[in-house]
Symmetry: C2
């Protein structure tokens, strides 16, 4: 079981869109995949057609009030399961902060679960913040996938997320956490800005940047309003193709 | 002095772009304006060409280690000043949480400052979160301006920010806080999604939605990489015109 945190503190860069559609593409390839929605906004959950059920999130297991097994919810897509988000998760940041090992709660839960889990991949959709939920995700993950919108602020923020990952590593919360890769998202080939950002990132990070680029396409932003991953909403479109390609590239990188 | 929080917990909806460009347009109309960057990412600060200076943010005043007057930094634009952001602000969430009145620290500072402040408008650029910095901004503000990206997740999140504002009001932290208005951003007239979201919001919220719509234009996303508001980067473009119009409409609404 490989745990991948999909994280970037910059808002609106495509974390949820990538978590949901990459997970759907991995499931389609036959890999049992679990998405854990760590965002109080619960966008990943609504993208998968989840009907909100209070208390079904990771909140209670984080506070040791229930087992993670009870929160795993099937979706209508084969090989794809979900632990939904909920607004209460925002409150749990303050609650877990009182716990001495508050930074590694998720790590403890997932590492205990690892031996009996039926999943090949677990994707953690992170909220846009530098808070406790994101830190927990980075401490729990084997690797971090960083969606990067091809815009200036997102580029500026890349050193920050890299810095936070380094802090988690050196503080000993997760000494082995590695970068799975950087995925360029919302790429618009007509603008200089997209081309400059893509070139800049590849020059600095080389192979850490996935070859697959996710283009800006309105189908990707329409799919969540139908409660579906783009693979189910617009099966043959460019959004679906690029996430399928990303899934193939990710699997190949596992070596 | 009117304090306006520019807030929406959904990431990437145009909070910073609106704070910076609306402030620049208000300053151009002759209103002395202050932007306070409450985001550890400090995107508003870099958009105004600010050279990061450690310790210049609102962090120390929030912890009562210095006076707010010392953090006010001029920009190169007449009538426009800034209190910059910095990464340390992320740490201050945990630090202020230990303070019994941690939710109203910013309110206390700004209300004490109000009697001697030379500003007509103070804009608070909020981070994308439901954490302590955002709550402080909502508790301190006279009104809340909500940028709304014309996309599904942003629409879904609107009830959440409205709910949080209602909680702040009813908990007594800020009984008089009102909605300044909702501003539609990144509107793309070629897509059904933008039209549907705009229609949906106007049906539900009527006059609370500004008449001015901010279109998606690449000049707006290029301006920050030059450290300038769009009014200085692309003076006669559609981005500048729409923020000038928004500033006029905001001033007219003050009655
Ligand atoms: N490739 C794309 N093409 C077009 N629209 C996209 C694309 N990727 C994401 N979007 C849209 O852009 C917006 C932001 O994406 P998304 O919500 O996935 O980002 P996020 O990083 O998860 O945001 P947050 O920081 O709030 O969690 C959404 O409305 C989404 O539908
Ligand atoms: N009207 C617009 N047209 C084109 N691009 C825009 C527009 N408004 C904002 N952008 C770009 O979209 C991205 C998101 O905008 P911005 O950073 O202002 O949102 P935000 O809500 O402040 O994000 P965060 O949640 O991270 O604080 C930025 O790269 C910005 O340059
Ligand atoms: Mg998200
Ligand atoms: Mg911002």
């Amino acid at each position: 079981m490989k745990i991948i945190a999909v994280a970037n503190q910059k808002g609106g860069v495509g974390k949820t869109t990538t978590s949901v559609n990459l997970a759907a593409a991995l499931a389609e390839l036959g890999h049992a995949t679990l998405v854990i929605d760590l965002d109080p906004q619960a966008n990943a959950s609504s993208s998968l057609g989840n009907v909100p059920t209070p208390g079904q999130s990771i909140y209670q297991p984080l506070l040791n009030h229930s087992r993670i097994d009870e929160k795993i919810t099937p979706t209508e897509y084969p090989n794809l399961s979900l632990i939904p988000g909920e607004l209460d998760l925002a409150g749990c940041e303050v609650e877990i902060a009182r716990n001495p090992n508050h930074l590694v709660r998720l790590r403890e839960i997932l590492h205990e679960y690892r031996s009996r889990a039926p999943f090949r991949f677990v994707l953690l959709d992170c909220p846009p913040s530098l808070g406790i939920l994101m830190t927990n995700a980075l401490a729990a993950a084997d690797t971090v996938l960083i969606p990067l919108q091809c815009e200036y602020f997102a580029l500026e923020g890349l050193t920050k997320i890299m810095g936070v990952i380094e802090q988690i590593r050196s503080a000993g919360h997760n000494p082995d956490v590695a970068i799975e890769g950087v995925v360029l998202t919302m790429y618009d080939s007509r603008t200089n800005l997209s081309q400059q950002v893509a070139q800049d990132v590849r020059t600095h990070l080389g192979n850490q940047v996935f070859k697959t680029i996710i283009p800006r396409t309105v189908r990707l932003s329409e799919a969540p309003s139908h409660g579906k991953p783009v693979l189910a909403y617009d099966n043959s479109g460019i959004g679906s193709q690029s996430y399928r390609q990303l899934a193939k590239e990710l699997v190949e990188r596992q070596g």
